[in-house]
Amino acid sequence: MAEEKRPLLRMEQIDKRFPGVHALDHVDFDLYEGEVHILLGENGAGKSTLVKILSGAVPRDGGRIWIGDHEGLVEVADITPERTRALGIGMVYQELSLVPTLSVAENIFLGRLPRTRWGTVDWAQTYHRAWQRLQDLGVSINPRAQVRELSVAEQQLTEIARVLESHPRILVLDEPTSALSDTERTRLFELIRRLRDRGVGIIYISHRLAEVPLIGDRVTVLRDGKRIATLPVTEVDEDRLIQMVVGRKLTEQYPRRSGARGEVILRVENLSLPGALRGVSFELHQGEILGVFGLMGAGQNELARTLCGLEPRYTGRILISGQPLTIRQPWHAIRQGIGLLPRDRRDGLVPLLPIPPNITLGQLCLGNPLRILNLRQEMLIASEYVERLRIQPPILNRPVLYLSGGNQQKVTLARWLCSNVRLLVLDDPTRGIDVGAKAEVFALMEELSQQGVGILFVSSEMEELLAMADRILVLRQGQISAEYQRGEATEEDLLRSAS
């Protein structure tokens, strides 16, 4: 298969050190036209660094790079972000790089808007072509909409549309599905296959092992900056991949659920939120994990936010342990022992503060603002959780900015673990974190539920919900469309109820 295909890219002995970390240790990587090469690894394994070196965003310490030309591979000594487009490389980063106040179409054609013969912007052409590009992607986003009004998934698709506009021969997708629902992901995969058939070489970075056989031709596993293996996808199974990614055998990704449940801790009656939720009612017991599933925009995220005081315009009744409550502000919720793991990891942490103050951040609102903090106790709590949750690197006075995504998520979780929550709201807690960290998050969920904490578990991953939740509510257009007990439903059932 690979014999007849021409190479598009060869990276040899790429080496990169950051202060304190050997981010890439003499890594080799190559890519042929018409293939999807998956780059797999935990957070901090070096995947993003490798593609950032390819795009010139990060300079390399050592190694050589060749990029395919019409005649064959040509060595490129200095790659800069400005040159990558000319070299035929298109990058879709994890962090979106759209201008939020401009329209979708303006973002897609940013810097190269179609012109009329008078030199002014040809708006008709701009919107028409943007619409066509989005149709190609199989999505219906209004090209005139402002980017900041779009959901994260729609923004991501806009970003992909923009990168495709320069017709790259090498397309890099850095965790493109982390914000997408399953339907959107399926569409994205169709698009990737179409591009592959046109001869585009695709580097696909992912955490999701399940995606590997779905979309990949070859897979390269990185761990701690080293290349572990490069293999055709047909030759590996999931167990072997997990082993290579994590470096140890994960016997069970999901812990066994004990399923004991206590009294009703949360009761929601007729909860509505303009434009998002309509008459939602349910109960959540102590020690129960209640899964919530919905397609993008079905209201599941708003449900989580409302319970944590982030959507003050709700109507309906919320009762905690039988006591009716109004939750118009986050501190109302926190004082009642409700903790939230926000959907966007960046919304949970203060990047410039180190680990200890980030862990105790949720306790600031409890009590007099002028009280004296116990910094020594804070340090003790932080060391305990850093050790227990294996937060890496365990440097207590370094800003959390330098932690990888999975470790940042653990810091946010530690915040609620240390403050005796009664109800924990997890809004897509495993989004964009690696297999190892996921298993740890699930173990913690199980541990918390055994302690009697009620957990509302919103997720876009059906597999996780089916494995972890005692019950699953399915939301469709802001209403509960189905409820399944543990073991009752399959992924098909969930999808059918959701769409």
């Binding site: 926190i334 960046r346 410039l352 600031l364 007099n368 850093v386 690197p393 207590l396 370094r398």
Partner: protein
Amino acid sequence: MKKKATSLKQQSVASFATARPRLGLETLRQWAVQMGALLALFLLAGYLSLATPHFLTAGNIANVARQTAVTTILAAGQTFVILSAGIDLSVAATAGLSASVAAVLMTSQVQILGVPIGPVPFGVGMVIALMVGLLVGFLNGLIITKGRIPDFIATLGTLTTMRGIALLVTGGLPVPSHLTAIELKGYLPPALIWLGAGDIFGIPVAGLIAVGVIILGWLILRYTAFGRAVYAVGGNREAARVSGINIDRTKIMVYMLSGLLAALAGMVLTGRLNSANALMGDGEELRSIAATVIGGANLFGGEGSLFGTLIGALIMGVLGNGLNLLNVSAFWQRVIQGLVIVGVVLFDQWRRRRFGA
């Protein structure tokens, strides 16, 4: 819960050789950052000691301390505001208004709603000035949080308004003003003059107040829940919100503190000049911002320290004093001070990029 924790811990130690939580070189690095500004200050002072015999004299150093005190006190409040990702353009105007109101009440009898008031003693005047400062700060905070107006615009508005009210209060005249060419209409209390121009064992009172403000502010930032909230709100507003921090209250408190310190600075300045006027301290708002930024604070919030701000204010003060001693014309002084601000911040940016701060 404890038991669970240990079992999980053991498990993790068994499968992984987990490093123990520890402190890194972060503290050292942060000190190194501040050392840059401190080094600049020493170099500047060293140069001036060599260039002019008048710089390193007790009298001149006391003079620098008095001049820098006002900027330092204002910059301390400004640092809180900038840490919370705001900016307070009204500090100098607030200083002018509070001092004018207090000075008028301390030097003369005024009719307020038909009730004759004053002249009040120093203590009452001081409290009134501080109350005025708190009130202006409260209004700033209220306009910014409840009115959802950007900090820059809101405080620009109060700046102008407060200067106007101060002009109304003083009638546009200095307080106390002259009845005749030699006789003053009322006198400021000696205690106020001591505050601005006096000394204890040769150390200027104003300087002591400024150092006290810095130390107290540092304690608040480091050890209180409010101080922590300031860093959180400025560092990531959304995270602060999700964590239950009352953002509006934190911002209002920050602006009230800034207003309070502005009033204190206004009184110190009045004591030093032996006179208050509506337009006093003009330009000090920008000097306080410059001192804060020279001291390493990030204008986008969440990063900075009062120790740095003190050094920043001293750099500004020593520079102004040195240029005077060297007989540099007032016009050139402005040019040089402006260039120094830009130069220091450029150097800071370069250093951050170079050493990955």
